[in-house]
C-alpha cells in the first residue's frame, strides 16, 4: 500500500473506529470490516499498478528480513528443531520453539538465504516435501503441548523439481493444510515477503493471517502469469497489476485479517522496527483467538476458509 493511501485510510478509520491506530498495530477484526466498507463506499482503487509493482520489488528485496531475523528479534530461548524423521532436513523451512512475550510458542517459516552460498543451501526458500513434513511434525508437537503456532511465509513457491514431485510435493502441501485445519491451539500466520502459491498456503491455514505492508501473496508469480497470459515473462508488471497480489487488495478480498505496517521505505530499512510491528500484531492475534475454546477456535478457522472465494 502506498504511504499516502495508507495514512489517509488509517486516519479515517481512526475516526470511524475511535481506536488508537499507531504504526505497528495491525488492522484486524471490526476495523478490517470497516475498512472494506469504507473502500467500497468510496470506490477508489486500493493501490495503483506502480504501487503494486513497488511491493513486488520490496517483497523480494535482498536486504529484507527473513524468518530467522524475526526469530532473533521476537523469541527468547529459541530451539530450532530439525528433520522430518524420514529422510531429510530441509533447510528451506525452519521450525522450532521459543518464548514469545513470556510464553512458549512454536514457529515455522520459510527461510531464504542472504549470501549466494546460503541462498543455494536454503534453495531460495523453496521447500521440498520433506520441509512440509518437518513442519507438520512441529505443528503436531505444538498441538500436543498447547503451544500457539506462528507461521512466517516467504517463498517463491514450493520447489518444482523432479525429486520433489517423486516424493509427493502436492500431497504434502495438501496434508500440511489439513494439519493446520486440525490444530486446536491458536495459530497466526504472516506473509513476510513472497507468498508464492501452494508453497505459501501450506503454512497459511491459520486463525489469523496477516501480510507485511509490502509483502505479496499470489496464486502464481507475476512472471509465471505473464508467461502464460502474455507469452512474455517480461510483462510481469502488467500481470501483477491484473492479479493484485499486494496486501491492500488481499485485505479487501477478505483473504487476510490485517496488514502489518512496515518502516518507512520498507522492512529492509529497519529490521528492528519491522520485527516490533510484526511482534505486536502476532501477540494481539494470539491473545484474541485464545479467548475461544479449542473446538470453537478450530470451527471458526474452518468456517473462515470455507467462506473464501467469489461466486455469483
Amino acid at each position: 500500500m502506498a504511504r499516502d493511501d495508507e495514512l489517509r485510510i488509517r486516519s479515517r478509520l481512526g475516526k470511524l473506529g475511535n481506536l488508537p491506530l499507531l504504526r505497528g498495530v495491525a488492522v484486524t477484526g471490526e476495523l478490517q470490516r470497516l475498512q472494506r466498507q469504507l473502500r467500497k463506499l468510496e470506490q477508489e482503487p486500493t493501490s495503483s499498478s506502480d504501487e503494486i509493482w513497488h511491493s513486488v520489488q520490496l517483497a523480494r528485496h535482498q536486504q529484507r528480513p527473513y524468518t530467522l531475523d524475526y526469530v532473533e528479534r521476537l523469541l527468547d530461548d529459541w530451539v530450532e528443531l530439525h528433520g522430518d524423521r524420514a529422510r531429510a532436513d530441509d533447510p528451506a523451512v525452519v521450525a522450532g520453539i521459543g518464548r514469545f512475550h513470556g510464553r512458549t510458542v512454536a514457529l515455522i517459516g520459510h527461510q531464504k538465504g542472504r549470501d549466494v552460498a546460503e541462498r543455494v543451501h536454503r534453495n531460495f526458500g523453496m521447500a521440498h516435501p520433506e520441509g512440509y513434513r518437518k513442519a507438520m511434525r512441529v505443528m503436531e508437537l505444538a498441538d500436543r503441548f498447547g503451544f500457539p503456532l506462528i507461521t512466517l511465509i516467504d517463498t517463491p513457491g514450493a520447489y518444482p523439481g523432479l525429486a520433489a514431485e517423486q516424493h509427493g510435493q502436492g500431497g504434502m502441501i495438501a496434508r500440511c493444510q489439513a494439519t493446520m485445519a486440525r490444530l486446536r491451539v491458536p495459530t497466526a500466520a504472516c506473509v513476510i515477503g513472497e507468498g508464492g502459491s501452494g508453497g505459501a498456503v501450506a503454512f497459511a491455514v491459520a486463525d489469523r493471517v496477516f501480510m507485511l505492508e509490502h509483502a505479496i501473496y499470489s496464486v502464481i508469480s507475476p512472471e509465471g502469469c505473464a508467461q502464460i497470459l502474455w507469452r512474455d515473462g517480461a510483462e510481469a508488471h502488467k500481470a501483477a497489476a491484473a492479479m493484485k497480489p499486494d496486501a491492500g487488495h488481499c485485505l479487501d478480498l477478505g483473504v487476510i485479517d490485517g496488514i502489518v505496517a512496515e518502516p518507512a521505505g520498507g522492512a529492509q530499512v529497519n529490521w528492528d522496527e519491522a520485527a516490533f510491528s510484526l511482534g505486536e500484531t502476532l501477540r494481539r492475534a494470539v491473545a484474541e483467538v485464545e479467548s475461544l475454546g479449542p473446538d470453537e477456535r478450530r470451527a471458526a478457522r474452518r468456517a473462515k476458509f470455507r467462506a473464501m472465494g467469489a461466486t455469483a
Binding site: A88, D90, Q169, G170, V201, R302
Partner: protein
Amino acid sequence: MAERIDVSIETRGAAEPAPAGKRHPNTCPACGSHYREDELRAAIWVCRQCGHHFAMRARDRIAWLADPGSFAEQAEDVRSADPLGFFDSRAYTDRIAEAEMATGLGDAIVVGSAAIDESPCELAVMDFAFIGGSMGGAVGEKFARACDAAAEHRVPLISIPSSGGARMQEGILALMQMPKTVVAIEELHAAGSPLFTVITHPTTGGVVASFAMLGDITVAEPGALMSFAGPRVVSGITKEHLPEDFGRAESNFRLGHIDAVLPRAELRPYLARLLRLFRGA
C-alpha cells in the same frame, strides 16, 4: 553448512507415448487410430487398439458411472465471479461466458447425489474442457458443497478431478480454494464419510496440492498425469532430465502416491465395491 537437501531420485523410466501436435480429438494420440463419436462413446472413450484413455466430459462420465436416473445435480447455479475485474487479452467474464457456451457447464465441476450399483454416494466430477479444469470460486464452492451434502447424508464422496490448477484470473481468491476444499474435507471426515478420488488426465497444480491428494482411497486412470508442477515447468526451471513416465499414474503408483491404476472399465465395479465396504462404516 552449505549442503542442500538430499534429492536422490528414482531414475528408471517407463515408455509412455508423448502427445503429438494438433490432431482431431477423436484420433488416438498414442496409436493414431481414428474413431467415430459413437464408437468412442461405446468404448467409454478408451482406444480399442492401444488402451489409451481419452478425456471424458463430466456429464458423460456421470451418465456412465451413476445408476440410470440416480443423479440429481446440486449447486448448478453457482458461477465464478470476477473479483479482480481481470483482463488480459480479453476480459475474464468473457472467457467464462464463452466456456459456458462451449461446454454447456456453469464451471469446471459438476456435483450431485447419485447411486452406483444401488449404493448412494455424492459425486464431484471435473471437466477439463472448461478453462482447463481450472479451480476458481465456483469449483471450490461446488466441491465444498459436495462435501457438505455427503456429510449430511453420511454417504461417501467420489471426487474425479481433472485440472490444470488454480485459475489465475481469480488471483489470490483462486489460491484460497485450496484451503477451502481442504477444510471441507476435514468436515466431511468429522461426519464420518470417506472420500474416494479418481485421478484423471491431467490433474496438476493447486488441485493436486489440495483436494485431489486427500482421498482416503485414491486411484488413477492409466497414463493420467498427476503432478504439482507439470513436466514442462520442472524441466524448464530445473533443467533436469525427466523420466518418460514423469508424473504419470504408473510412476505415481510405484512411488506410493496412489492405491491403484485402474483401467476405466474396472472403475465402476471398484467404486461399487468401495461403497459396499464403507456402507454403514
